[in-house]
């Protein structure tokens, strides 16, 4: 396995993991409850769907280097830089947007009466999610995870290849040429397989 492929896969994997951990409660919240500011939250999460997350990351670094955020970030011991943490951040944002969208749709499809039934049978809210909502919405979670991985990988691979030409971009060592071809093949295959499986999963419901 080439260095390039290893870097892309590990960043995409880590970004997907973060997106799922953070996105699962968000998807449950958005799919099951109605509350004030729901549309706004939904819109904010969806921003990276249409707005390149890389650009968001770039702005974040630039703004925090010269702007008002610096003292706050310093207090949190975060030093903004073009390094792997930023890569993870930007890829994770895109992955989160996709994951939440797909998982939320499936959670929203779960019949509310099933959850009410579980509650009348003495289950707590957490137990209802564990015993009813998640088992019935798992297709959305799996499909969302797969698509999130595709998105994170694609986003990061693109950034990395372009960033090579930017002086000091991302701080990774120069990439050997043969790695690019291998990356392309692996990415194409995984995207194809994952999106096929994901669309099968989300269609099978109902």
């Amino acid at each position: 396995m080439s260095d390039l492929l290893r870097i892309v896969l590990s960043v995409a994997g880590a970004a997907t993991l973060c997106a799922v951990l953070l996105g699962l409660p968000l998807a449950l919240l958005l799919g099951r409850l109605s509350f004030r500011g729901k549309s706004l939250l939904q819109a904010l999460i969806a921003v990276p769907l249409v707005f390149p997350a890389t650009l968001l990351g770039y702005y974040a670094v630039v703004l925090s280097r010269q702007g008002y955020f610096r003292p706050l970030l310093a207090r949190l011991h975060v030093v903004p830089a073009f390094d792997w943490k930023l890569a993870l951040f930007t890829a994770g944002l895109g992955a989160l947007a996709i994951f939440v969208r797909v998982a939320q749709t499936d959670f929203a499809r779960v019949d509310r009466r099933l959850e009410q039934a579980a509650r009348t049978l003495g289950r707590s809210d957490l137990s209802v999610i564990w015993a009813v909502t998640l088992p019935l919405g798992w297709r959305g979670v799996v499909a969302g995870t797969m698509l999130a991985f595709c998105r994170a990988g694609g986003e990061f691979a693109l950034t990395l290849l372009v960033a090579r030409t930017v002086p000091g971009g991302y701080g990774f060592s120069p990439i050997p040429r043969d790695g690019v071809a291998q990356l392309g093949v692996v990415m194409l295959c995984s995207v194809l397989v994952f999106s096929l499986v994901a669309s099968r999963l989300t269609r099978a419901v109902g």
């Binding site: 019949d111 009410q116 039934a117 509650r119 049978l121 003495g122 289950r123 137990s127 009813v132």
Partner: protein, 375 residues
Amino acid sequence: MLSVELLKHLPGFTLDVRWQAREGVVALFGPSGSGKTLTLHCMAGLVQPDGGHVSVGGRILYDSVRGVRQPIRDRRVGVVFQGYALFPHLTVAQNLAFGLDRLPSAQRRKRTGELLERLRLDEVRRLKPRSLSAGQQQRVALGRALAQDPDLLLLDEPLSALDGPARRALRDDLAGMLRGFGTTAVLVTHDLAEACHLADQLVVYDRGQVLQAGVKADVLSRPASVAVAQVLGIRNILEGELLEAGRGTVRLAWRGHELVAECESGRGDLPRPGGRIAFYIRPEHVHLLRKDRPAAEAGRRTNLIRGVITGETDLGAVVLLRFRVEGDGPDPPSGYDLEIEVARLVHEKLCVHYDRQWEATVQPGAVQLLPNPPG
């Protein structure tokens, strides 16, 4: 003893109800959107009312004044949802055991086994709900709600997903099971036949309010008002003038005819003589005098009404005739005064098709008074 008093404001709808019932099966009956299901959800604790009181056999589940709000899990209330809401990802046995998760596993298995046997579900215990028949699904829903041996069972439109013969068969089945388990139950329905078959007490709902509550026979034979009669789907709700209240009978004037109605004496809710009073005559209680058998009909002269048949509706087993009375006063806007139900066989024998002029009689006992006039 079941005591319910609830206030709940929703956008465009207010539920404001108060009723009591004895142990047994109580049907909340009324048109769709009258607040029956909301009442059920408030009783189960799924919806928080704005005020009121719910108690079952003296145990308080909710009381806004005393600040009692039992959480759902402590209410000891089982719910059968509309469409049953069985967990599609669990087997029959797992569905039944879902509410027993606080029991030790040996006890849970024992209880589930009992239920499977009692509900004739042992053979399908490992199947998922979607491969069950409607009757089996109903039994799983009932068993799941009864597994924890609740004090109160709530059923929301239990038969609404079905129609025709299947519905009747399941109604019989459900009636048998409710009697068998003997748990006090409250059932929501907009089908009067269902309410009558399953329940022994009726609570009549309309637009978020209770119009009448009581023992089934009382509500059915003595609706408290025109509004109740309308909700119960009673036909031929009429209005006349009270002439005289005698002993056990009342004389009315209606469309130039004088009618005698039976009425328990000492009834305090009647208007004074000369006042308006509403009453109804069930279409099946109007008797057309048979011209082909004058001798047999000679004795029937009370409450004689003359009129013309203006139209008819064929309902299969019976035919509904629209009958306009020849008498005083303006003709009703619908063009007829009474609906008369005759058996199909009689309809054919009388040749109603060719002969439109008829005389009809009504037994005094079939003229039912409704104390509150419409409007």
